[in-house]
Amino acid sequence: MPVLSYIQAITKALQEEMERDEKVFVLGEDVGVRGGVFRATDGLYEQFGETRVIDTPLAESAIAGVGIGAAMYGMRPVAEMQFADFILPAVNQIISEAAKIRYRSNNDWTAPITIRAPYGGGVHGALYHSQSIEAIFANQPGLKIVMPSSPYDAKGLLKAAIRDEDPVLFLEHKRAYRSIKEEVPDTDYTLPIGKAEVKRDGADITVITYGLCVQFALQAAEKLEKEDIDVHILDLRTVYPLDQEAIKEAASKTGKVLLITEDNKEGSIIGEVAAIISEHCLFDLDAPIKRLAGPDVPAMPYAPPLEKEFMINPDKIEAAMRELAEF
């Protein structure tokens, strides 16, 4: 099985889906000749031509809105937002339109668009090239939000997103793009949207997280193994709507829960996870539900010492895990 980086897995998924289905096409800024500023669409322009790999004018609301129109018509657009931070001009199209088209038309129309966006920090991107933006959208029924943590997951989930009958916001961690590699099958597989996955089975404490933080948590868990602390790790994979069953099961399993996000804390995805647990598993808990998150400041600053202070890393996670285990 070939070893692919996270971004290669993305490219592979796009390529396979475009080969499989003529209705699939890509649109966004610099996705064509340039192959994307991160090179996620590398080679697609050459293979599929400019009618299916479309360099759009610099206008995110149009990228989303034109994609939605094409999706209503019956196409399978995959729209790229150059950075997740720049999805904000398109919020109206995504929330008022994509998320509500099926519902408002009483199932007459649908908008099966996939919107990809690189998110996350730790890449010297400063305030506007580092943000986690999932919480802005994670209150909108009709929309799904997928945030894969590994190359294998990225490929399978992106293919599932493209085939999904509903709009999917697909958020890729840009620091994972080249730093995370693993074996990824050449075969055509999809992974279920809406399902979390246990990435590590453990008995002492439960960690629930998503995206790049899953990798950090796995690293930290490995270290703690030496101290005989056995960590259970649930990867949410889909952060909206959440897989409530998996969350309850994981929380109840150890009774000690650590929730992690790279986003700032208040109002983030993990607040909802805590709420689900405290609504359903309260009496299974042996410790307060602990949260590890970015600080509640507007976004990640640029200067290295400040970026480091903001960013979650394996050491911070390890410390939080240990503290919880010792509770």
Binding site: F25, T51, R52, I54, T56, P57, A59, S61, A62, A64, G65, V66, G67, I68, G69, A70, A71, M72, Y73, G74, M75, P77, P89, N92, Q93, S96, E97, K100, I101, R102, Y103, R104, S105, N106, N107, D108, W109, T110, P141, G142, K144, D164, E165, D166
Partner: protein, 335 residues
């Protein structure tokens, strides 16, 4: 003998009569809705009155067997032209389960009907513009002979989505027709506080597409302009911006009181130019229908609307538990 205006445009007397009838039907449905609103039967109306001419004139220039439309909330004349029925319009006014637009989920005036290729619309204005461009893009990609027609108000042409959508269509030379229905007001705000340009169609040059302003009270003038745009679109020449100028004869909606912001005289003057009246004169002058035939048409339309109203009034609402349906496709319900 010189050809009459509609003959020059290749329209038959029969076409003209149909267009007039559709305009009249739109007006009478709208009037009925106000009555129903004022008698407490339906909570909300948003009107087409004063804009029927441009709506019907434009729609008849489309190929109504294959073209797509993204109508806006005033477009009773458009949706009737494209195949929605009076009964269906009453069902949406009453928010009943059978309403094909939304099953009673949306407010009246939020159109959408897939079988007639009308995109589903929302309340935030102008979002439909990029959607129509997306349909144009898809049609071009699929090499289908489809024109995508979208309407919006002149106030709405100030939204970013208008700019972004128009620019996208022009850069990619897509078969899209943007028709701004300039009725001089955006709720209470008059044209000169919405825009400082002389004509809304002046915006076209900034996108690199043709822009035309036509008398929106004249359905044939609008037909002609849209027909030319349709021809351009079909031959790969790209999009067109059309401004149809008319006047909003009613308050903004049944929740509005327009006396606080415009003079009655202004409204009365506009009523003199009402496209429905002037087009009726045209039909009469051209001897396309006799007065008694027109009387009969009124009578027929009244019956259709009576039937539609009675049907809608007696139709059931959607069941409360249906609220959970169609959030996502994979399941029937989110519960």
């Amino acid at each position: 003998m010189s050809l009459s205006k509609h003959q020059q445009l290749g329209l038959s007397d029969q076409n003209i009569l149909e267009m007039y009838r559709t305009m009249l039907l739109a007006r009478r449905i709208d009037e009925r809705m106000w009555l129903l609103n004022r008698s407490g039967k339906i909570p909300f109306v948003v009107s087409c009155q004063g804009q029927e001419a441009q709506q019907v004139g434009a729609s008849y220039a489309l190929d109504r067997t294959k073209d797509y439309a993204a109508p806006y909330y005033r477009d009773v004349g458009v949706v009737l032209s494209l195949g929605m029925t009076a009964r269906e319009l009453m069902l949406q006014a009453y928010a009943k389960a059978e309403d094909p637009n939304s099953g009673g989920r949306q407010m009246p005036g939020h159109y959408g009907q897939k079988k007639n290729r009308m995109l589903t619309g929302s309340s935030p204005v102008t979002t439909q513009v990029p959607h129509a461009v997306g349909v144009g893009l898809a049609a071009k990609m699929e090499k289908k002979d489809i024109v995508s027609f979208v309407t919006l108000g002149e106030g709405s042409s100030n939204q970013g989505d208008f700019h972004e959508g128009a620019n996208f269509a022009a850069v990619h030379k897509l078969p899209v027709i943007f028709m701004v229905e300039n009725n001089q007001y955006a709720i209470s705000v008059p044209l000169n506080k919405q825009v400082a340009c002389e004509k809304i169609s002046d915006r076209a040059i900034g996108y690199g597409m043709p822009g035309v302003t036509v008398d929106g009270n004249d359905p044939l003038a609008v037909y002609e302009a849209v027909k030319q745009a349709v021809d351009r679109a079909r031959t790969g020449e790209g999009p067109t911006l059309i401004e149809a100028v008319s006047y909003r004869l009613t308050p903004h909606s049944s929740d509005d009181d327009d006396r606080s912001y415009r003079e009655r005289e202004e409204v009365e003057q506009a009523k003199q130019k009402d496209g429905l009246l002037t087009f009726k004169s045209y039909v009469q002058d051209q001897e396309i229908a006799t007065n008694s035939e027109l009387e009969q048409m009124e009578q027929e339309i009244r019956e259709i609307i009576d039937e539609a109203t009675a049907y809608a009034e007696n139709a059931p609402y959607a069941k409360p538990e249906s609220i959970y349906d169609f959030v996502y496709g994979n399941e029937g319900s989110t519960r």
